[in-house]
Symmetry: C2
Subunit: 152 residues, 2 copies
DNA sequence: GCAAAATGGTTTCATTTTAAAACCAAGCTG
DNA sequence: CAGCTTGGTTTTAAAATGAAACCATTTTGC
């Protein structure tokens, strides 16, 4: 009996993350939430996602504690979906994806939406991966240290 | 006729990125490549992915210029898959996913693989999102500025 | 030098996921 | 109170995925 696709038990944190938010829509929903979208129909309209899929993903994301469903603060019958702190912690993931896309997926003169510092209106600075001592790191000077199974 | 799922033309860079690497396996393959994996069978064994799917993803990733298929430098008949510079630029994405997973998806005492600075052996520092002036930014002080359609 | 095993896939077929559209109940609106 | 909006669920069709079988080369073991 082979477990199919669940990396829940994987000891690689990126694999586990992808297990939770690695499907095609989840991060797009989270991105909309970062952009202030709160209601079912708004997600649906902005993303063009099928409603059953959206309902499913909202359930999963709330189940994972990334979104929280709260009753309409204005007393209406519907509920709002809001990012939890865990969801807000996905900001670097969204930013990393965005910056990679800006760099590699747009023509030099092609317009795209921008993520800006709301205080100054300037673009967010490029993310960089640094060592504890502040040295800039690239793919060549990092390695993955696997957990020894016996430790698990 | 409704175009299904292609965000190729979307003006949001994160959407476009997800269109390219947002499927379930692509980033896992890239992560393996970061870890030095180069050959078909190694990807297959490490990830437990079906071979037809792996072949498809390797084709897509090379087609996108994220991986490059090069003939075995030792003269063998097989080819190796290597990250291109575009692929190596995905490091911050992988790191962001990994750090989010470490923080939110593991029990406090649970072991996991680590991404370390190969010089010192110390963990990579937490990524942070900063403004141009160096201020630390969180979800509350960034906004997305949409491109005006007329500009496009 | 030859048989056997490994490599790097492709094909086939069953299962699962996704998409689109229709449907529906509850609220609100004029 | 008739009709529209919101927030879904159900149904059905289409597409993606997964497992296994198959296959042509290579490499290896002896």
């Amino acid at each position: 009996m082979v477990r199919k696709k669940s990396l829940k038990g994987d000891y690689c944190p990126s694999a586990r993350s992808l297990d939770v938010i690695g499907d095609w829509w989840s991060l797009l929903i989270v991105r909309e939430a970062f952009d202030g979208v709160k209601r079912f129909s708004a997600f649906q309209k902005n993303l063009g996602i099928a409603r059953n899929i959206l309902a499913d993903r909202l359930r999963k994301l709330t189940g994972e504690g990334i979104l929280q469903a709260v009753p309409d603060p204005k007393g209406g019958a519907h509920q709002e979906y809001r990012l939890t702190p865990k969801g807000r912690d996905l900001l670097p993931v969204i930013v990393a994806l965005r910056q990679w896309g800006e760099k590699h997926l747009f023509a030099p003169d092609e317009p795209h939406s921008r993520l800006v510092d709301s205080l100054t209106g300037l673009d967010v600075a490029p993310l960089d991966v640094r060592a504890q001592d502040g040295r800039l790191l690239s793919a060549d000077n990092v390695i993955i240290v696997k957990v020894r199974e016996e430790d698990a």
